[in-house]
């Protein structure tokens, strides 16, 4: 039953293979770097003809401020709608362009980001920002430590 899986996975890993666009949950994982001021920094790129964010999953060590550099190396125009406390952040990313965004996010949990133009999101350009950590001590329940999955 497993014969052909690798071939099918390869077909799923590109546009107009098995699917019309690019199946979600593709792409690389990256980590934000924390500066001495506590602000985090990361770069996200759209490679040519792949319809995927790189990294598609960005890990933040904790909640707080994130400075993002966004690069569109694709041969088509995209954009980015990014989660941030206060309001979502929007930027156009025409072919071969580079811009920046400032985000503020709580932790823990994960947030989506995407390219809300055409059907970019359905065709692959959805990514996640994963914020690690715990709720602050003052917000936690007064009870003995409990088992977790």
């Amino acid at each position: 039953m497993t014969i052909g899986v690798e071939k099918e996975l390869a077909e799923l890993g590109r546009q107009n293979g098995a699917t019309i666009g690019r199946l979600l949950a593709n792409g690389n994982l990256g980590r934000a770097e924390e500066g001495p001021d506590g602000r985090m920094h990361a770069r996200i790129r759209i490679p040519p003809d792949e319809l995927v964010w790189d990294p598609a999953v960005l890990i933040l060590p904790h909640g707080g401020d994130l400075e993002l550099e966004l690069t569109n190396d694709d041969m088509n125009t995209h954009c980015a709608l990014l989660p941030s406390n206060g309001d979502s952040q929007f930027i156009w990313l025409v072919n071969h362009s580079r811009g920046t965004a400032s985000l503020n996010l709580d932790g823990p949990g994960y947030y989506w980001y995407g390219s809300p133009t055409g059907n970019d999101e359905g065709r692959g350009l959805i990514g996640a920002i994963v914020v690690m950590g715990d709720a602050p001590p003052e917000a936690r329940l007064d009870r003995p430590p409990q088992p977790r999955p």
Binding site: L81, G86, G99, P108, W112, G114, A135, Q146
Partner: protein, 565 residues
Amino acid sequence: MTETAEPYVNAGHAVDQVSLTFVAGSAPPVARNVTYERILGARSEPHNWLTYYGAYDGQRYSPLEQINTGNVRRLTPAWVFQCGSTGLQAGATTYSFEAAPIIVDGVMFVTGWDGWCWALDAATGQELWRYKHAIPFDVSLCCGNVNRGVAVAKGKVFYVTQNAHVIALDATNGKPVWDKTYGDVRAGESATVAPLIIKDKVIVGSSGGEFGVRGHLDAFDLETGEHAWRCYMVPKPGEPGSETWPKDGEAWARGGANCWITGTYDPELNLLYVGTGNPAPDFDGEVREGDNLYTDSLVAVDPDTGQIRFHYQYNPHDVWDYDSIAEHILFDLDGRKALAHFDKNGYGFILDRTDGQLIRVFPFVDRITWGEIDANGKVTPKVYPDKEGEPVHFWPGPAGGKEWTHAAYSPKTQLLYVPVQDVGATATRRRREFKEGIPYWGAGVAVDGEDMAGSVSAFDPRTGREAWRWRNDVPMCSSVLATGGDLVFAGKPSGEFIALNARTGELLWQFQCGSGHHSSPTTYSVGGRQYIAVPTGWGGWVEGFLPGMLGAPHGAGLFAFALPD
């Protein structure tokens, strides 16, 4: 890494999404002079709806009478505020517009799902500003992506987020003033409640009763956000009430009793009346023997200190998921300080609010099979899921004979108006090991998709007798609103917003809003014109209260109705 030697086009810096709209970004400073004293006298300024229930007493009654039984047939939409969503969101298929709009001198403050908060021009529906908190996609939500509204005071708008923050915004521009975390999302906590202002504090409760948390109420200084107190609704070992939990083990630590609906307040007694949620696990009572205080209870709290003064438990040792979070309506009963509460268990209670003594108890829904409560308040369970793997059917189902959506009381007619849900459910006990952040029900539950009914029913609190009933073919799942025009407004799951004669229950008017109702309508006036505002948007825990309509249109519109100019 570049793919070409050509320099990049400068895409600039990302902008707020709101900058790509026509939203002005500012509102008149109407909230600056909203003080505790003004909220105390809220009913004396009926052009406003200053606090969640309209006034501290929870009556959901407005003396406004421009719209009345004689002219309500001419009621027409004045404006509609629509808010669809962009991209993915938490609880994507369970979002629901559940708020009670607050109105201050022509400005409406209202929340949506997924962290939205808006200021609108209450006469035109024009959006004045917005604040959008980013909500984690994976936040634990037992019952949908919802929020029940804001509190307003001292120039600020207060609301909670699904990831358990309480936030103060500048009421003139929606910019954050302070932001505090008061729940642990890794433990399964969340927040949906509309805050309540009492004196210098903003008071909020926690959600998460289906995840085995320990419910609590918190107070913050409304100016600074400094935490003032926390009141746990399940006692620790050794505290009063702890004798109602197993002596050994940690059932108390996972006991539930969340306060996810706004309380009511008697300033003379200085008592805050809070309803608490189900114990956890919801249906497996064997792991938490005892009455399980203060789950499913009225808890009277001193708002200055967070100390519990007294309680009345509606469902000792609940194994039907009968939260008692629903409102406690404060009213005068022949000179006696009374309160009314319609519980999920299908009984209406009239209590003395000075000490919690029972005055009267009566059934308000036709089918009650889980057990019975006699005239003295004695509870006798009859049907419950006590055997592993054995299905048990009971009425009302876990959503209750009445859900969280609110009843109303008209001091003019002296009647209580109740949205009634007559729908049963089958629970099959399935024990599971507790793990933090994982649903902890202790059963598989299927709510009936057939053989159901609903109504808006009027009751005389002096006798417990039903004065009239307006029947619907499915449960009624929205709050009701009573007005000085002798009208009762309610929303139907099938989308119609209706007006009933408050004295007879006669249907006088209806308008199809295009989506079912699961929110709290309010009323106000601007420039002498009365409006009725109702958020629509069918969602939330539909599988719990009306699974037979899970396929109904979702919607996301706030309607304001008025008489023609």
